[in-house]
Symmetry: C2
């Protein structure tokens, strides 16, 4: 008899996440109750925020408890339904965690159309990462035509959308990514104006060259030394959308030297979490869906095969080993 | 024959400002040209921003050149006028620098009424520091009733107004100041709810006690280790108005450890300079003048006697030696 496979948090990481922090378990496939739906998960999304949920430290969301299934966004198919809005065979997205089967309340699921767009896109460019890019760029940075937008982790699920949206809205888009191959992709495939390979070891000089008029909007995903260096290029009245600080999720915080730029250049710096304001999702998804359908926004996926591969893929993501949106193909 | 006394920048400070960075000079009293006014300066304002003007480093305003008169806000009396808006005997404020006499274009001066309010108040609570407090608190922090506002350098020209305005608008006001005497003044005279003496050596513990519900608004004048510690008490969706970072004007930047709070708590941090938006001055001064006239906003002045005392008073200000608005009485 088929079982539900799930990955639980075995123990909390001390610094870098290790595969031993996770444990693969099996349990019976659950039965849906009233107004519930049984879903066979096809895709699991891996995202940097999950690192925070593995810690006990107070953050914006509750930690995963030891022994609990790891949290995560998923896409799958309805197998049984006790909810009037869902029928067997419907494709749905939700937050069903690192497991192959799940029961969820109908209210916690969203039906999506996987005929025109692949189902996995609803975990990336048409899901949380895409909306994150839109909210940070359009609501916080609000770049004007001709301004310079810089985004870190530019080839990733969020960063790739930020730069393409910036171009669509008439800004100069400059990416920062790790490695020549990612930078080539960012410029040649995604159409950014420039990309800096921070691993090339000349960040400060390369940055000056790529941002001759300084930076008007910084969409920050990485933090640490790169963020601190970027602060030195910010223009008067520039904006910083702080979306992620992945460089310090696994280590002591980087000691920032250049926060004085906030005063000198009257910078507005705003941290945000895409789930804070759900009213922004519909306008974001509307614009993104149009650009994806027309081919103006492109996306790329890194796919790990099978649930058992999720821990290694997640660790690689935290180290920048992914190229585009990191997914796990479950079945 | 009476001469103009002026203090010029003799050389740039290497770290801490020294009296030897300044030089007292004399020159003939200038003659006003067309549309100009000759003013005998009575009061000179000393303010932390002046430290920035002594450096060559790029900042929001032009540096003072070596040999030039130090910049500064002044209040005085019109002695000769070639401008239709000003008559001999009018009291005026302007930015006439560290000198006893000055010629200025009429358009660069503002006539003030020194009958109901002392002339010196127009350099403090009813001048740049007061408007700075109002803009940072009302426009950037925008505290709601019941929220907690923390302000550093709480007994100073800006900080004292921030806390009193916060109280008027229904917030809890917590000051941070250096020394028991300043803290006593902040609570007993100015009516703050609490004050932390950072020199007492228990900032973290005292802060927790004084902000049981965390911090919703931080008005930051100081920077450095105090700022970094305050970041750990910020609430979700809190605001930080970055007005000054005096702790690092004379030394290497403090390495900030807690910038991650901006993301975790979705903080909006905004640097500002009060001269960026002159349209905010009239509403600010209108509210402040009402509260000063009614006695709801109190202020205190530290007065140095004579222009020659200005360098030592300025150095003391940078080290927190002033108590209230630092002025120099010129004649």
């Amino acid at each position: 008899m088929e079982k539900n496979q799930k990955i639980v948090l075995a123990n909390r990481p001390a610094a870098w996440v290790e595969e031993s922090n996770f444990r693969l378990e099996e349990s019976p496939i659950p039965e849906p109750g009233a107004n519930q739906v049984l879903v066979r998960n096809r895709w699991l999304s891996l995202d940097p925020y999950m690192r925070g949920r593995m810690s006990e430290a107070k953050s914006y969301a509750k930690s995963v408890e030891i022994g609990e299934v790891m949290v995560g966004g998923t896409a799958g198919e309805v197998v049984k339904s006790n909810h009037p809005k869902f029928a067997v065979g419907d494709t749905v997205v939700g937050a069903m965690g690192w497991q192959t089967w799940a029961v969820a309340d109908g209210a916690a699921l969203q039906k999506v159309d996987a005929s025109a767009v692949p189902l996995s896109a609803y975990l990336g460019v048409l899901g949380m990462p895409g909306v994150t890019a839109w909210v940070g760029l359009m609501d916080i940075c609000a770049p004007k035509a001709g301004e310079t937008v810089v985004v870190t982790a530019a080839s990733g699920a969020v960063g790739s959308v930020v730069g393409q949206l910036a171009k669509i809205h008439g800004a100069r888009a400059v990416g920062i990514a790790g490695g020549a191959e990612k930078c080539r992709y960012v410029v040649e495939e995604l159409g950014f104006d420039a990309c800096i390979d921070y691993k090339a070891g000349n960040l400060r000089g390369d940055l000056k060259e790529a941002t001759p008029k300084g930076i008007d909007c910084l969409f920050e995903n990485v933090g640490g030394e790169i963020f601190d260096t970027l602060l030195t290029r910010m223009n008067p009245f520039s904006r910083i959308a702080v979306c992620g600080l992945i460089a310090q999720y696994n280590s002591a915080p980087y000691p920032m030297q250049n926060i004085g730029a906030v005063l000198i250049n009257r910078i507005r710096m705003q941290g945000f979490i895409v789930s804070d304001d759900l009213s922004r999702w519909p306008p974001a998804l509307k614009e993104l869906a149009g650009h994806v359908a027309s081919g103006r926004i492109k996306y790329r996926e890194s796919v790990a095969d099978g649930l058992a591969a999720a821990p290694a893929a997640f660790i690689s993501l935290l180290k920048g080993g992914n190229f585009g949106k990191q997914l796990v193909k479950l079945t």
